[in-house]
C-alpha cells in the first residue's frame, strides 16, 4: 500500500479517545502529523461538551487541528457520492457523506467506529481503519 496522505478522524473515534480509550491509530496519526479533522466533526465535538470547562478545553484543543478545507468542489462531490450510493441502495446523510468525502478528497484513511462507513467503502475507494 502507498503512503497515506492523511488520517481523517471521525467523531465516533474522538468520543472514545477523549473518554480515555487508548487508540493507537489516533496516537500514530497525531504523532506523525497526519491527523485531519472535518469541519463537521469540530462542530459535533463542541456540541457534545457537557460543561463550560469541557467546552473551553475542546475549543483550545481544536485551535491547532488540521481542519479539512471544504471548497465548492467538495460539496459537489458530497452530492455526487450520495447520488451514486443511493443508486446502489445505500442511503447516507449529508453529514456522513461529507466525512467520507473528506477522506476521499485527500486520498486519506478514515478512522471511524461507525458501521455506515463500511457500507460506503463497499462501493467507493474509501479506506477505513479503527
Amino acid at each position: 500500500m502507498s503512503c497515506v496522505a492523511g488520517i481523517v478522524i471521525d467523531t465516533s473515534v474522538w468520543i472514545d479517545f477523549l473518554a480515555g480509550v487508548k487508540i493507537r491509530s489516533v496516537e500514530d496519526a497525531l504523532a506523525n502529523d497526519l491527523a485531519i479533522v472535518p469541519p463537521l466533526v469540530i462542530a459535533e465535538l463542541v456540541t457534545g461538551a457537557e460543561t463550560m470547562a469541557a467546552r473551553q478545553a475542546i475549543g483550545e484543543f481544536l485551535q491547532d487541528a488540521e481542519v479539512f478545507a471544504t471548497p465548492l468542489e467538495h460539496w459537489i462531490y458530497v452530492g455526487d457520492l450520495r447520488r451514486s450510493l443511493a443508486r446502489k441502495g445505500i442511503n447516507v446523510t449529508v453529514p456522513d457523506a461529507h466525512v467520507a468525502q473528506c477522506a476521499l478528497d485527500r486520498n486519506a484513511v478514515l478512522l471511524t467506529r461507525d458501521s455506515i462507513f463500511a457500507d460506503i467503502a463497499k462501493y467507493t475507494p474509501l479506506r477505513l481503519a479503527r
Binding site: M1, C3, L30, L34, L45
Partner: protein
C-alpha cells in the same frame, strides 16, 4: 471488508506536511506537535454527550 485494525506501516512522506494557508512546514509541524500534546493531555478527561445518529440525521433516512 475495507476496515483494518492498523494503519499502513509506511512512514508518512516528510515532504508533504499538512499546512494551513501562509504557514511554513516548520510552523505546521510545531502546530501539529501542539495538537498531539493537547490531545494526549485531554485523553480521559472529556466525556462527550453525543448521539451521532441524531446529530447526523440518520433517523430521517
Amino acid at each position: 471488508m475495507a476496515t483494518r485494525t492498523d494503519l499502513p506501516a509506511e512512514p508518512p512522506d516528510s515532504k508533504t506536511v499538512l499546512t494551513r494557508e501562509g504557514e511554513t512546514p516548520e510552523e505546521a509541524r510545531a502546530r501539529h506537535r501542539r495538537f498531539y500534546e493537547k490531545a494526549m493531555a485531554l485523553r480521559g478527561k472529556i466525556k462527550l454527550d453525543i448521539d451521532l445518529d441524531e446529530l447526523r440525521g440518520r433517523h430521517r433516512n
